[in-house]
């Protein structure tokens, strides 16, 4: 029963999709197609990400993570966070569980935000793709704006949240499974 409750949202959406097929077959089937497509992407990308996360959680000691990404990691930490995010594969939602494990291991919050920012918009494979379809000028301009944006967003979000809220997030990430 408790398991079923977790799936209420999914079941409602499933019902809406079913209804859509009944009302407008073409639209409904298009929805099904898109969902199957996302499902394929999810099945392809998420399992290895989670396995890598499990390994990271078990093998990388907290001290190592703090040295690379923690308080006092400075410019090196910033560069590592952005490189990690840019080298990633898959859509943004894949970044969230990774970020939480990084937090649990003691990465600095600003670096977490930079990591998510990089994952969302400066991913290298996507950049190459953007250059080929939109042209170098467009892609480079957007990259420059995005990079600026990532820093501004990280800075502002950290300020707005404040120490207390951030600490609460870290406590929560530490309680995550284990």
């Amino acid at each position: 029963m408790k398991q079923l409750k977790r799936y209420v949202f999914a079941l409602i959406m499933l019902a809406v999709t079913g209804l859509l097929i009944l009302v407008n077959r073409e639209l409904g089937l298009r929805a099904v197609n898109t969902t199957l497509f996302s499902l394929k992407e999810m099945i392809l990308i998420l399992p290895p990400i989670f396995v890598l996360l499990g390994l990271l959680d078990v093998w990388v000691p907290r001290e190592t993570m703090i040295r690379f990404l923690g308080e006092g990691s400075g410019l090196k930490g910033v560069l590592i966070a952005i490189t990690l995010g840019s080298a990633a594969a898959g859509p943004l939602y894949g970044a969230f569980p990774v970020a939480v494990i990084l937090m649990k291991k003691g990465a600095k919050f600003a670096n977490i935000l930079l990591f998510i920012g990089a994952w969302s918009t400066t991913k290298i494979p996507m950049l190459l793709f953007e250059i080929s379809s939109m042209g170098l000028r467009f892609a480079m301009t957007r990259l420059a704006v995005s990079l600026t944006g990532i820093f501004v967003i990280a800075f502002v979000v950290e300020r707005v949240l404040g120490r207390q809220a951030i600490d609460a997030l870290y406590t929560r990430s530490a309680e995550l499974d284990s």
């Binding site: 977790r6 996302s38 859509p91 969230f96 704006v145 967003i153």
Partner: protein, 161 residues
């Protein structure tokens, strides 16, 4: 290609870990499954919702929205569409290139791509689950504002402004 690399690296590391310490490896895999199962309910709901959304908002409709209207209204609409949809990059870019040919401007496309990549309205519940309401909402709101900055700068650079 990306996937092959991802899977090979993962497999290699699992084997390495297994050789070094079976117990730890089992623990890692258990953790992997647990965190996967943790987001599965919300996730299945989200991809169904995206399916429904995109059934209405296909390339044709998007093209009409940002192709016919130029200027900042087009930018605004493009950013809204980008924020609520969740389209993988390898579909989004060719679509964007196509939209460009059918009359959309660089500014609108810039706003669309930027908000598409950085803002996730449908994945917001998931983001909140991991980061809490405040962090998630602030990040998305700021990223949304940045879609307009992107449009402005791209408009200047590409000579539309």
């Amino acid at each position: 290609m990306e996937n092959i690399v991802l899977y090979s690296v993962t497999a290699l590391l699992v084997v390495l870990s297994w050789v070094k310490d079976r117990g730890k490896t089992k623990q890692a895999l258990r953790k992997a499954w647990k965190s996967f199962e943790n987001i599965l309910p919300q996730f299945s709901g989200i991809i169904l919702m995206v399916g429904i959304l995109l059934a209405f908002l296909n390339a044709d409709v998007i093209g009409r929205i940002i192709g016919s209207s130029s200027g900042w209204l087009g930018v605004l609409l493009a950013s809204v569409v980008g924020a609520i949809t969740l389209i993988p990059g390898f579909i989004a870019f060719p679509t964007a290139a196509m939209l460009l040919q059918t009359g959309a401007g660089y500014m609108q496309i810039g706003a669309f791509i930027s908000s598409l990549m950085m803002v996730g309205v449908v994945t917001l519940p998931l983001e909140i689950k991991y980061f809490g309401k405040r962090a998630a909402i602030w990040r998305n709101a700021l990223a949304y504002v940045f879609a307009f900055v992107a449009a402005l700068v791209i408009g200047k650079v590409m000579g539309e402004l």
